[in-house]
């Protein structure tokens, strides 16, 4: 007892073997037990004197953790969480700048493609106009080719007869060539050979066929400054002679004899 081992026992500053020895002694000797208890009590009171009241909130936290067995709550310390937060925040900052640049690039691309689209649209419209012009031209040429083919047919066809109409006393310089096929009942006039003054807007020239002494209307035509084509007139199977008179616009039912320009007989 005098060695101070009881004090060291209470202070927890003792080896396991010594601890067992003290517990054995205490169990055997009530006097030693009383001495030990007195030391313990005074140390307990000393600890009470040095007590520090923990935070109020700690009471329910600790009681809950004891009663629900969550005894390893403490491994999740707040410091560890803070470190984790830092790690997460770094890549987030990186990726946000990436998206910023990506967005800018997208905008630039969008603008560029918009400009390209507008210029392409203009070119497309030009092309449409050109195509329309070409189609009109093409149509025009096709018509012309058809017409020329018709003219050529007249020249090649041996059934056509050509008659040169001579000027009358009223207009001695006038002249016109007429082609007629009795078999095909077709009549053409050659405007290139037409030698007559240009008619005004209220008059037209009219072609007549004389059949058995009676005039038959074969249609009207105009003399213009640059008329060079051949023109197909109304058809007739019979004709003794052809004549042209100047008539009011649209033609007359019967010829005005004093306005006869040319005449010719077979």
């Amino acid at each position: 007892m005098e060695t101070g081992i009881l004090e060291l026992y209470v202070l927890g500053d003792i080896s396991p073997q010594e601890k067992l020895q003290v517990e054995e002694m205490v169990a055997k000797h009530p006097l030693i037990k009383a001495e030990l208890e007195e030391i313990e009590l005074s140390m307990e009171l000393f600890a009470q004197e040095n007590a520090i009241e923990p935070n109020e909130a700690l009471r329910s936290r600790i009681l809950n953790s004891v009663l629900t067995n969550f005894n390893d709550d403490s491994t999740f310390s707040t410091v560890a969480n803070k470190i984790e937060d830092n790690v997460i925040s770094l890549p987030a900052a990186k990726s946000s700048s990436f998206y910023k640049y990506a967005f800018a690039a997208c905008l630039a691309l969008l603008l560029a493609s918009g400009v390209a689209l507008i210029s392409l649209y203009g070119k497309l419209q030009d092309s449409y106009t050109q195509i329309a012009t070409l189609q009109t031209n093409n149509q025009h040429f096709a018509n012309q080719v058809n017409f020329k083919e018709g003219e050529l047919q007249v020249l090649r066809d041996t059934s056509f007869k050509f008659l040169k109409l001579q000027g009358t006393a009223h207009s001695p310089d006038a002249g016109l060539t007429v082609a007629w096929s009795p078999a095909r009942k077709k009549v053409w006039i050659d405007l290139r050979s037409l030698k007559m003054p240009v008619n005004d807007s209220t008059h037209q020239y009219q072609l007549w066929a004389l059949v058995g002494g009676k005039p038959v209307d074969l249609g009207v035509f105009d003399k213009t400054a640059d008329s060079t084509d051949m023109k197909e007139m109304k058809s007739t199977a019979l004709a003794d002679a052809f004549a042209v008179t100047l008539e009011p616009k649209g033609g007359s039912v019967s010829p005005t004899m004093d306005q006869m320009m040319v005449v010719g007989k077979f």
């Binding site: 101070g4 004090e7 060291l8 026992y9 209470v10 202070l11 927890g12 500053d13 517990e23 205490v26 169990a27 030990l36 208890e37 007195e38 030391i39 313990e40 009590l41 005074s42 140390m43 307990e44 009171l45 000393f46 600890a47 009470q48 004197e49 040095n50 007590a51 520090i52 009241e53 923990p54 935070n55 109020e56 700690l58 009471r59 936290r61 600790i62 009681l63 953790s65 004891v66 009663l67 005894n71 709550d73 403490s74 310390s77 707040t78 410091v79």
Partner: protein
């Protein structure tokens, strides 16, 4: 102060209730001893969140290993303060805690140093004044190291530069002074 009156039981009633694993036992245990145990723990670990964790671990361990306590071995508090002291020292020596201390920011150190050196009036230390007069300064510093900070008497001898025999004598003298004081 909204909390109801603290629960207090006699030590026999408390031990019995703890054996029967009654809910009231752990509440009474907390109300009666948490401040004494926290006084020891917070002297070993200055960082408040960590010392609170250790207090929690202490109560969990008391509750789960209560079957290893017997009244023959001594008073309940002696057994409990050993658990608290050992857990606190284990925490202090653990790898986690050492790393945490290394990584402490300057700001935190400034506040914790402030806390250590300032002399705020603490009402819970009111009774100490009598004790300071009862205990000689050299007795008090030895008790502080061994009882509160968990030094062995060998470590205390090295720390204070005093022969081992003197340490033992001073410890006995200090405790006898305390016995006189409390009687």
């Amino acid at each position: 102060m909204s909390r109801k009156q603290k629960i207090s039981l006699s030590e026999e009633e408390l031990v019995l209730a703890l054996r029967n694993r009654e809910k009231i036992a752990i509440e009474a245990l907390y109300d009666m001893y948490s401040s004494s145990l926290y006084g020891v723990i917070s002297r070993i670990i200055i960082d408040t969140p960590t010392s609170e964790d250790v207090l929690q671990e202490t109560f969990v361990k008391i509750w789960h290993s209560f079957s290893s306590y017997s009244t023959e071995k001594g008073r309940l508090f002696t057994w409990m303060i050993n658990i608290a002291r050992n857990l606190a020292i284990d925490k202090l020596r653990s790898k986690d805690f050492k790393n945490q201390n290394k990584n402490q920011e300057l700001e935190n150190n400034v506040t914790s140093i402030d806390e250590q050196i300032n002399t705020i009036y603490k009402p819970e230390l009111l009774g100490i004044k009598d004790l300071v007069e009862t205990l000689k300064p050299e007795q008090k510093s030895i008790l502080d190291l061994v009882y509160f900070k968990g030094y062995t008497h060998v470590e205390a001898a090295e720390e204070l530069g005093i022969p081992l025999g003197t340490i033992k004598t001073r410890l006995r003298m200090a405790i006898q002074q305390l016995r006189k004081h409390f009687n």
